[in-house]
Amino acid sequence: MANTAINIAGVEFKNPVMTASGTFGSGMEYGEFVDLSNLGAVVTKGVANVAWPGNPTPRVAEVYGGMLNAIGLQNPGVDVFIERDIPFLKQFDTKIIVNVCGKSVEDYLEVVEKLSETEVDMLEINISCPNVKEGAIAFGQCADSVFDITKKIKNVSKKPIIMKLSPNVTDITEIAIAAEAAGSDALSMINTITGMKIDINRRTFALANKTGGMSGPAIKPIAVRMVYQCANKVKIPIIGMGGISCAEDAIEFMMAGATAVACGAMNFVNPYLTQEVVTGIEDYLRRNKIDDIHEIIGCVK
């Protein structure tokens, strides 16, 4: 069988298939559908220093080829997470990447410091959530602030870090370059794109938060473009995501330059998706007589 293992910042993943933060909880719910041990990594829902209640409902809305969400990073806080979710995930033979969110630099640093003392494998730093008022996306839309927060987190983190980039920017390569320059070990992209839906009969917004983050197959071409642009500008590995609904989509991201991929909103449509992508990539490699998945990473220039 072809080699599907990839390495990011010294962490070895059995395959490049991960879960996109916020679409897979901490794996408990989808553990009923897929064996988490078959995945490259579980990337958890965002965790803050304290519990966050999130936004009012409605928090989700359907759009053509995808959805909008404005969950607002509801989470139990890092202490509960460390006590409950990490032991759960450690039962499986998969890597654990914890998504970290905050409203201030101090928030991020507190979470990073606490998680540094645990058995998780990597930290994904969410500086791109469009649905919370303070912090989050504000950090991620300007190269200088990305450099600054990346540097500060890198200084305290004992785990390799992955900066998660927002697509809501003029030139995502500037942001990627800033994150790399500040020491980020990898990048994940893209977070959701800010969208809006109006219910013309009720004459109101479909989401209580007015705007929400758009995900699903509708955004895939934008995500692939951004992965391609960044992969040609930075040397650190990229975890590509945005609307992946099958192995072919995952391969498209990898050919554009992603070292790994994450399945997001489409888990909601196909709860077996992550497993099917793993198998589908293996099939593609076999059919095309490719020995090592590295042959397809960035192969389209």
Partner: protein, 264 residues
């Protein structure tokens, strides 16, 4: 064990204006309970997420589920055109369902309004003991409709006394289900309910004042249906077990909640 499976449409017919009744053959029927729901996937790929639809009846002997739904948009509009034999993709069985044992030996009053009526049918069947031993001492069913299109009324009558309220007064009490309860001097010992939010709020208030247990089924926009996305939350009195922020997940902690536990 939740799963995504292919079911097959057995029958799909309009039983009132814009209200359809669909029987689907699926082995999800073997796991289903009154008050649970399934996610029905659209065939047209313009939208992707499953539509949560409550289970109206469960026929384990035929391995069939009945869904009674209102056509409100593209998704349900498409569903209404599904012909017998057609494959339909389902996610299920979802949610907790109604706690039947709470009704043991009591006069159970089932209250429902509009498209909240369907799940009450299986519940009435179970509590009245039509298919098994009776659970409740007595079952009264109070259902509210917009007008004289009192769908499922005859079927409900097999399982208990049925009292009707209508918005336009064309049948039964002119008013809501609480009005109908009072007009008919019904004294519930336990309430089970499903329907629009104003009705559920009224039931919550009534049950708290009367110190009666009430179990209400809530609705909210959902994405995953399995508790992962945190889209469909409801404020709760106590901290929730997932995020510890008093936000229960309707899809998994619910859709049925004790009325006094939720802030609606």
């Amino acid at each position: 064990m939740k799963r995504k499976v292919a079911g097959q449409v057995v029958i799909n017919e309009e039983i009132a204006p814009d209200i359809y009744s669909m029987w689907i053959e699926t082995d999800l029927a073997m796991d289903a309970k009154a008050g649970q729901f399934v996610g029905v996937f659209p065939a047209n790929q313009s939208t992707l997420l499953p539509r949560p639809i409550s289970i109206c009846e469960i026929d384990k002997s035929r391995s069939q589920l009945r869904l009674v739904y209102r056509v409100v948009g593209k998704g349900t509009g498409e569903l209404s055109h599904f012909k017998p034999g057609r494959r339909v993709m389902l996610l299920g069985v979802l949610g907790n369902g109604y706690p039947l044992d709470k009704a043991e030996g009591k006069h159970a009053v089932l209250m429902a309004g509009g498209i909240g009526v369907p799940p009450i049918l299986q519940l009435a069947k179970d509590l009245s003991g039509r298919d098994s031993a009776p659970i409740a001492k007595d079952v009264t069913i109070i259902v509210g409709y917009r007008d004289c299109n009192t769908f499922l009324k005859e079927e409900l009558e097999q399982y208990g006394r049925v009292i009707i309220a209508t918005d336009d007064g064309s049948v039964g009490t002119h008013g809501n289900v609480i009005d109908a309860m009072k007009e008919n001097g019904i004294q519930p010992e336990i309430i089970y309910a499903c329907g629009p939010m104003p009705m559920l709020r009224a039931i919550k208030t009534y049950s708290e004042e009367a110190a009666i247990d009430a179990y209400i089924s809530l609705e909210e926009r959902m994405a995953c249906g399995v508790g992962a996305c945190l889209g469909c939350v409801c404020k709760t009195k106590d901290i929730d077990k997932h995020s510890h922020v008093n936000n229960a997940r309707i899809c998994t902690d619910g859709p049925v909640f004790e009325a006094k536990e939720v802030m609606i």
